[in-house]
Symmetry: D2
């Protein structure tokens, strides 16, 4: 839901521009949009803004004396270790998986290159893969999302991480290349989020690509690119589409949004939910999560919805279904989750009351017509990170969060448990592809087998890979 | 959900046995199971148990002097009219449809035979069809479910109704035949619930059957029979499957069960919900509705579930997922909604505590192993209609509701609003089939077109057939 | 909450009119209003309307051959026994109390006269008192509320019950007198609900009254009368005010109304709660219970409230606080719980929409201005017991429940568990007063000692009189 | 609830120690405990930790050229202004009050010294007082709680603020003295939170004290000290006890905790609430708020409670009432809100599972026996601000929040709306005392008049001081 769909740019030229510092601008079209979305790594407590030196220009050693990594500051490793430990507490399924490492090493011999957000939760995944026998080299799928301390902690224990917060686009490709292009080490598995890594290997190292035993891809964008490759007959490797697994679809939106809408609003505005009038635009899974949470906290919630089935569901769930214009003058908060454009127009923003909050939990940053607010008569005041007061000539303020981008990506953390489901799915997919008997998977894009999805959920429910024996 | 799937008995012999009073026993296999399920018509206040004469042996006239009907007692018409008026209050969509009758008569010329439960809500449907221009003859799809007063009220205004509560099987077929077989009147539309009427016309009046313009069928069983006919190349009429319309699937189970679980438990046992420990077996739509209602009323709710996705949903919704044996000794109420057999075994019933309640909201009457309770050492005491105390040798009592049959069919009313959705769907389907240009529908089974489903919901949400114009 | 406060009529004359059949009219002022309130004993399934003979004119024997009782029909005893057994299932605290009877008989020697509603739940109380050693004679505190079958079941096991449904006022006093005035048997304890029994003994049998060891009174009215007696220096007996015990105040209104609002609306109208717009007038304990239940069932709930604290609570709990006139045209249901008069006026009823429901959960029958509806241009149609359609000249119907009297008294059952708390309180109060060392209680009105209240709740929570030993 | 009760130290000696830099240690007993509680001012984004110079040693000028203030860094004023603007959005009642300033100036002539937490919300209060005509000098009631940016913003517009985050105890008294002791300006009103300012004026400036027209005190501690003074006959000034106003009692705990428990847990641990097993110790107002929020978010919640009334309430609200030991091995989170000591013992902490979270929402920092965890075999690891992992020898981690101090004070923000109620109460109390006709208030401690409380709530509900005219 949270990624812009990108065309797979079959542009030869593109990759002739090997990343150099000078290459930044010219590369701008080639980088996937997802890799440049703003992103809040909520726990980035140690700000290193004082240190302006590029990591690429520094030489660092971890305590074991190795230097096969490139992170902001290896000295932050200890702090990153703490964050990883916090994350482990709510990722018991991965920890359960590690127990298998004692008896069998299902990933022994696997050489995995990974390209994902580098956060504490990812670190728990990477360290699980290592415990299961894999060698890992890792880079970031987004130039802003790396938790520097976590990258340092991973590097400290010997994982080759190439990533830092605030990479340039040139850095981005340089890091990917450093992961793949290593003397005497050749990857045989890819774990990707967005398809940039896969694309790079496919384009730059076709011989490596052919010998890959499996690709695991997590994002809509990346899956789309894989299907394009497959359709063009160029996908010579089995790939697993983790994004469309039922576990992800069923849990991410409803349960995740139920928690992050509260978290996001509270961290940015300190608003009290009790008694507030809120209109939620759209009653899909995201809207259902948002409304449930706010109703439970004592808000008075209205819903706008054009699909009659969803509208009647909202109605049966106790929400008044209205048109936005009916309530625009009275509501304290507007939350968009429709997936459509211009759900909230300038005309409507003009009629909102002083102090009202506008934010977006939906697909992209076009649900609120933010562009229409960038006119001379309106003053923008940045009052906190991700919080703007837009001030009308008569002094009225409307509080715009994250400039209309996704509130839960920008202003709240994603619950570790939800990330745990995704991460465990990725680990199981890697194990499956790596160990599958020859012929089980062809050169195609697969969904996670249902049985594995169930194993996954057993892991989360009961911490074990056992079969359920009801009664 | 609530009907047993029946094989379409392609047995010629069967129908040679034309219904006679002597024919009861021999017909027993031919009647659909749904037509003999026990059924509570909750509002049957005027008991006529004193009058033992069969309606077939009586001659009655309505106040207009006509006698083309056969009901228990035409004098109950006034009372039935009251029940219909109550039902109209929560069926505004049908009332809105009637407004169309003023301008256009979309069912002018339609001659409809119907075979459904005859309740106040059905009466609102029938009277709507009449207002839209149709002529109707009606009979009951279940030998127990007729509200005699309502049947009388319909007969009073001139609808030819042939139905009463407590028909014999012979009566059942006799009534169907009286509907179809009328001098100088030939039906051109069928509205069926269970397929018995359709079957009868198909078998007994093949020439009539061929000229039918459309069949609307509401039940799983009936739809199954239609598909069988279609597969065998014998369905010469377009039919519409109303059972699988998204509106029915989405609303009936979740929202209906949310209300009827409370209603059914309260009417039978007067139990207080607050503080009770309840285990709900199964977390599908029915289970979700039951748990939501009981949680909201202050019960402490446990869930058993073998499907891991549903189990994790239960977990995320705040219910402890357990195995039944873990909580069997402590719970006050067990509710089954799994669709499986023997979910509650004798062994488990043996361990339940004194005063605990056992009931079934699931598919059929086999979820609780009721048969295992019919042993000599246990005493059964019927303490109220639909309520048995099963008494163990040590004095322990377990309260069994509806002998393990569906609680909401037997012990509660279905909310009128939900029935309104079904009834409006039926009306729209009849209008569509009757008015469709030639060629739109072939000799096949169709689902309600999506656009009509939306119209339906608009009718319920806004009381009008208009298009929604968001914003 | 549910009783009208009655002046203690210190009118000598009154009691000179000894109850005779001729005395009906003249007594009309002396009977407490609570004793004539309409009352639904929900489980009165065996209607004996065919038998018009007054029980006073019949001679009946129970199976043991005794005739010291006067009930409608002793043959209904078996059916009443079933009802008592149902009630026992949710009154475990009283059943726990009975266990004490095995070792000690704390009421051995107690001769109790009781005057309460005679229902299955009361029967469990009476039989508990008997098990604890008491002798009991019982009569009804309300001329409509007796469950005849239960009265029969009690008489069958030898409790002297004088009560039936539909007593005349003369019958009422005759029954009370039969309880008290028995050759060779003199009561030493009184359990009263409304004060009529106490009044009778005080006035007619002053010598008996002086020797009473204690009075337990349950109602507001009765407690008020006791305080008046006490103030006048005429209360020569210790009395216990059970009505104001914290257990009653805390649990009866909130938890009871939360369940009975749903039960009452469903039984009378079959209305679906989901999606309905409801306005609840008043946000005290009753209003809080009603709104919580309806919100949970998916209704869209508004609150009117003039007290600003309660209004802000409603607001924080997620309800829009409105003035009734703002929403009168759109709501489907109005529920009054203010304790004030004319909360819903004729003018407002005129503006309600077709099919809307009006009912009262508050103090008395004056919250809805029902009188204003009794005008010639409006037609009243009784569509079910307790359900009237009031029909405007243009055909609009408003559904009025219980003629504006208390919905939960008239149209739903009170949950057994709540009654169990009251009944156990009464039992503990009797034990306390009967066993108290001389001097502990003076000739005054007492509240239940806090420690006993706690014991009571332990009984309900844990089924035992033990002390809680946390951790 | 959130303050430790302090003895009023009638110790002459104490104040002979006039605050000097050298005086720190000797003063340690005299400072109120509330003034040294740790405190999270959540929005302190601009850390000035680099600047180690004491504000007392700096000379700063605001843009108007005045220097009558002492804050960390006047240049942060712009940022503080943003925070104040955020706060204003949810404090509409105070903004409504400001409108009165246009017509009347009810505080014209008032010279107010204030000693409170200095936060954005307080700033809205102070600026409202100024708008109503008052002159204000302000200091902090807690050495950690000042938002430096807000202090700067107030100083910038000319309010004399003496406060910064991280004051020494000597600084603390120096700041108070600077507020009171100003050449040519003598306060006539006191607004206090904790009683330290009042104490100082009373002791050091008895002549000023005598001429004070009124004291408004917000904390339990301060009110306690006032009652002691009053009892000793030494309170020569009318004082208003804002802490015990019904508005505060009713709203602060229940509604505030309902939101801050989620906020506090999420900010510190990123834990997912859905599916977590949580035990809440204590079911008073705080416990009710916590359980309601967590239940709504999908947690499985248990309650421990020794008071039987609260226990039965918990039960009726749908929570399993358990003893802590029953669930200690299975729960993911323990929250204490009992007001008692050692509710969670070392023995129990030993039995908790790996990754479980322990925190306190109750009265003081003794509910969890944190001291027992400071033993050599356990390792403490500070993983984030306010978050410690306590690590057992076998590697088990228990996550302890805020070292057992109040979670909501330390780890979450208090919703602005709740603070708005308190701040408006303070403003109304100041207006009332300042304008009261002579004789209305004696030299005593008063509660806020009920009528004023209602006015207050009208302001919050409707933004106006009007009378409610129901219907």
């Amino acid at each position: 839901r949270q990624r812009v769909q990108i065309q797979f740019v079959e542009d030869k030229q593109e990759f002739s521009r090997f990343p150099t510092k000078a290459g930044r601008r010219s590369l701008s079209r080639s980088i996937s949009q997802s890799s440049t979305d703003s992103y809040s790594s909520a726990a980035s407590y140690t700000d290193s803004s004082d240190d302006e030196t590029s990591p690429r220009d520094k030489t660092q050693l971890n305590s074991k004396g190795t230097s096969d990594f490139c992170v902001k500051n290896i000295k932050q490793a200890e702090f990153g270790r703490r964050e990883i430990e916090i994350a482990e507490q709510d990722m018991s399924a991965l920890i359960s998986l590690r127990k298998r490492a004692q008896g069998e090493k299902p990933l022994a011999g696997a050489k995995i290159v990974g390209c994902t957000h580098i956060t504490a939760q990812t670190a728990v995944l990477i360290e699980t893969l290592v415990a299961l026998g894999a060698q890992c080299r890792w880079t970031a799928c987004n130039i802003y999302s790396t938790q520097n301390e976590v990258a340092a902690a991973l590097s400290e224990i010997g994982v080759a991480v190439f990533a830092w917060k605030g990479e340039s686009e040139d850095d981005f490709w340089w890091c990917i290349d450093k992961c793949v292009n290593m003397e005497g080490w050749q990857p045989n598995m890819i774990l990707d989020d967005g398809g940039d890594l896969t694309h790079w290997v496919y384009k730059k190292y076709p011989n490596v690509f052919k010998k890959i035993r499996g690709i695991v891809e997590e994002s809509v964008t990346g899956v789309h690119r894989l299907y394009q490759l497959s359709k063009a007959g160029k996908l010579c490797v089995p790939a697993m589409n983790v994004n469309d697994s039922v576990t992800k679809q069923k849990f991410d939106n409803l349960y995740c949004c139920r928690e992050s809408i509260l978290d996001g609003l509270k961290r940015t505005t300190d608003v009290m939910f009790g008694g507030k009038q809120v209109v939620v635009c759209g009653y899909g899974e995201v809207g259902k999560g948002c409304t449930a949470a706010l109703k439970a906290m004592g808000s008075i919630v209205y819903v706008t919805e054009i699909d009659p089935i969803c509208a009647l569901q909202a109605c049966m769930d106790g929400f008044r279904v209205v048109k936005l214009n009916e309530v625009i003058r009275q509501v304290d908060v507007i939350i968009t989750c429709t997936g459509n454009k211009n759900v909230v127009t300038r005309d409507q923003l003009d009629r909102m009351k002083n102090g009202s909050i506008v934010c977006n939990m939906g697909h992209s940053n076009t649900e609120i017509d933010v562009a229409s607010l960038r006119t001379p008569e309106l003053t923008w005041e940045r009052v906190r990170s991700q919080v703007d007061h837009v001030i009308w000539p008569d002094g009225k303020r409307v509080i715009l969060l994250a400039e209309g981008r996704l509130l839960n990506l920008s202003c709240s953390t994603v619950p570790t448990f939800v990330l745990s489901i995704t991460a465990t799915t990725q680990a199981l997919a890697l194990i499956e592809l790596y160990n599958a008997p020859e012929g089980r998977y062809k050169q195609d894009v697969y969904l996670l087998p249902k049985k594995m999805g169930e194993s996954l959920l057993y892991l989360h429910l009961f911490g074990a890979l056992h079969e359920n024996t009801e009664k």
